[in-house]
């Protein structure tokens, strides 16, 4: 054993606060309710090309023909997302009815990674209109498909929330959900790392899940990225 070993052993001798065990027991007895129960309160409109509108509250789904399949897929993915089992959506969205500026804002909002947040001003800069933060806010406020296009990941530059179509409380819960849902999950037996929600990731057993902070970290210990969900292209 050398000095580095001793230094590390000393450094890692942390004392837990004496009240920790009691607080943990209290948390185990009263776990916070999940978001999955809210899934029934979301309603979809869909065209042949994809989801055109997502509403929250009273209402019903509206779709015909192939649109019904999109609604089914969207609902399934939304339930998984709210349950912390999905970090991305594959259901197509049809933004055919929105103006060009809003379309660019929504496209840029879709690039904000799961679990990340971005300011209105930064989004305005990214679309090439650095002084249009307020217009960006209006465009996001009129987002026809919240959650699927993650406008909840856009907040004010001072770190406070700002307007959200489904209310500030739901925005907080969605951001908290994304804060506590892992993005990259590796399978211990196949040594493949996927994005959470990939069909392959969903087959990994409870004991075989290993979370990574980046694809590079996973590669450093012998895991390769999934060829289906391509985490290298999408993870932050």
């Amino acid at each position: 054993m050398d000095r580095t070993d001793e230094t590390l052993r000393e450094l890692f001798a942390v004392q837990a606060p004496p009240t920790l065990a009691g607080r943990l027991r209290a948390a185990l007895r009263a776990p916070a309710p999940g978001l999955e129960a809210l899934a029934d309160r979301f309603h979809f409109d869909a065209s042949e090309r994809g989801i055109t509108r997502l509403a929250y509250g009273r209402g019903r789904d509206s779709a015909a023909g192939r649109g019904r399949r999109h609604v089914e897929q969207a609902r399934e993915e939304l339930i998984e997302y709210l349950g912390g089992r999905r970090t991305f959506f594959t259901v197509p969205v049809d933004l055919g009815g929105v103006a060009e500026f809003q379309d660019r804002v929504l496209a840029e909002a879709r690039r904000i990674p799961f679990g990340g947040v971005e300011s209105y001003a930064a989004l305005a800069r990214r679309i090439g209109h650095p002084r249009a933060a307020r217009a960006v806010g209006n465009a996001l406020g009129a987002n026809p498909v919240p959650v699927l296009v993650p406008c909840h990941r856009v907040i004010r530059g001072d770190g406070t929330w700002g307007h959200y179509a489904f209310g500030a409380a739901l925005k907080t819960r969605l951001l908290e959900l994304e804060r506590t849902t892992p993005l990259l999950v590796g399978c211990e037996s196949t040594r493949i790392v996927c994005r959470r929600g990939c069909a392959h990731e969903q087959r990994i057993g409870e004991h075989g899940r290993v979370v990574f902070a980046s694809v590079a970290d996973a590669a450093s210990v012998g895991y390769r990225p999934c060829k289906v969900c391509r985490p290298r292209d999408h993870a932050a």
């Binding site: 050398d2 000095r3 580095t4 070993d5 230094t7 590390l8 052993r9 450094l11 890692f12 942390v14 004392q15 837990a16 606060p17 920790l20 065990a21 607080r23 943990l24 027991r25 948390a27 185990l28 776990p31 916070a32 990674p113 679990g115 990340g116 947040v117 971005e118 300011s119 001003a121 930064a122 907040i155 530059g157 001072d158 770190g159 406070t160 929330w161 907080t172 951001l175 908290e176 804060r179 506590t180 892992p182 993005l183 990259l184 590796g186 211990e188 409870e206 004991h207 075989g208 899940r209 290993v210 979370v211 990574f212 902070a213 980046s214 970290d217 450093s220 210990v221 012998g222 932050a236």
Partner: protein, 170 residues
Amino acid sequence: MDERAFERLAGEYAGRLYSVAYRMLGNRADAEDAVQRALLKCFVARAAYSPRWAVSTWLYRALTNVCIDELRRRRVRDESDLDVETVSEQLPRARVARQPTIERLDVTRALATVPREARVLLALHYVDGLGYGELAKIRGISVNTVKSQLRRGKAILKKALEAGGHDGSD
């Protein structure tokens, strides 16, 4: 495993889990939050617990999964131009005491230069004296990878300590 048995287990391991989380995340608030989240995940999934796993392996796997995702999130957050303190304040988390002055700042800083995977293994190895086999099971990697990561992590740490004027030699 029933609820009472799990509660006893949580009480027994809380301190050690906290120490590992603290060394991975660097502050008390995040460490306590991570321990709470990891234990809640295990509590919900306790029916799936298999006795072929040591309890410590099961709990440490859950804890490292939570801590590593927190480190990923920080990396994303550090790249943004937002007031991150305000963002954090608005999200719920475990209530904890104020963080005291950080001791041995140079070692903590040196540890931050070690790659994440090696840092996690160092924390597990030195906090609880976990062996190579258990570390391999916790992180889902081979024993040889554990050994090479620990060796590499220690070498980087030693170099950083020497560069900072701290005597980390034999």
